[in-house]
Symmetry: C2
Subunit: 224 residues, 2 copies
Amino acid sequence: MSSPAGFQPVHRESTSSLITRALREGIMNGRLPAGAQLSEAGLAAEFGVSRGPLREAMQRLVQEGLVRSELNRGLFVKELDEAEIRDLYLTRTAIETAAAYTLAHSEGAAAGAQRLRERAAAMAEAAAAGDLNALADADFAFHEELVSLAGSPRLHRMHETLMVETRMCMTALQETYFDPEDQVAEHSRIAEAIAVGDDEVLRREIEEHMQEALDRLVRAGHQG
Amino acid sequence: MSSPAGFQPVHRESTSSLITRALREGIMNGRLPAGAQLSEAGLAAEFGVSRGPLREAMQRLVQEGLVRSELNRGLFVKELDEAEIRDLYLTRTAIETAAAYTLAHSEGAAAGAQRLRERAAAMAEAAAAGDLNALADADFAFHEELVSLAGSPRLHRMHETLMVETRMCMTALQETYFDPEDQVAEHSRIAEAIAVGDDEVLRREIEEHMQEALDRLVRAGHQG
DNA sequence: CCTGTGAAGATTGTCAACAATCCGGAGATG
DNA sequence: CATCTCCGGATTGTTGACAATCTTCACAGG
């Protein structure tokens, strides 16, 4: 747009940034389970770097709240008890409501709603095929897209962390989708509310959706 | 509460954590102005530590979004243009609305509203005395208290960063309180809305307050 | 049996030195 | 005069080593 040939500035990434992403991924998919100690020497050897860059990556995760640091003891993947899970969903509601509200009032509301409809359709497809893994992926993709479309760097960055935590406790609790059709319907209603632009409905849909998801998780936690 | 003698776990802090706070303070009050390069060697010497812990602290600030990292070039205090300031206030609205909503629906709503009334009273006192510095402090204390009272660790952590950014651009723009009385009144209305528990009013009051604050900042930016 | 002592082992916290990269200017070349 | 090349200085990125701390276990004493 602004530059003559429309080039993006070259984007190279620091080592600690790469390691941060890799560790975050590991926490998300359960390869680094909640409560596990993160050994500096061991992980540094795995990544093939020295402890310096690895420690820097750790500090990022500490700041993000995914890792807890105990002085002279080590770093541990944060464990989520029920209160934490409730707080997680409270915060997700805050962020996603704001994102949806912003999107619904922006120029790209119609286009955004269309994108979200497509995501919901992908969920429906996965649900129909009985592929619960694909359904979960599509579910996350929907929420990721929702916040992305709002175009707010801060909301997006905060949401990233929250989604890691969400996925973390879903894998930990082995939560299964009980009513896939209901899930799809909830997401579709959110997309439609954005298309229509009714704030009140939008807020209610998101709030209910989060409440449902939270209830499922808490139930799974009590049973499992 | 839960433990027999009610002791808290001993809380010692890591060096990088201390340095992070000190740097954050420096960014907030303008001692490290926006766009400034943060020299590792220089700062390490000032703190009397080696570059290791200092770099760890830097990574935390990068993750927080207060500092921007350019590979092999250095670290720079993030600059806030108008779009960024708008995003900042959009996000503050999201977080503080959620906090106020949570507080208003909690058991401690009445007590919380009282605490906020006291904060607003402190603002009124500062405004009456014409002490704009004290007014700004009381203003921040009000918002800090509001989010603290919600009792959500995630909202609180996110809000912390946002307040640093807010203060950063206020000091950068030398924003002065134009209508101190109006300011106090806006805060009082928020406290009362929490006491009453009317969600709709609460949302509107916070949204308007943020919009007002944003407008003042943007105007100051265009003039200054 | 419970408590206190002490050393071994492992892990984290810190540091100073080395390697790689970038920026600026002097000088050569056309 | 413009451009290219090269070098010195400075800064960041990374490493391996050292110091401090914590945990675990065995063992002696009451």
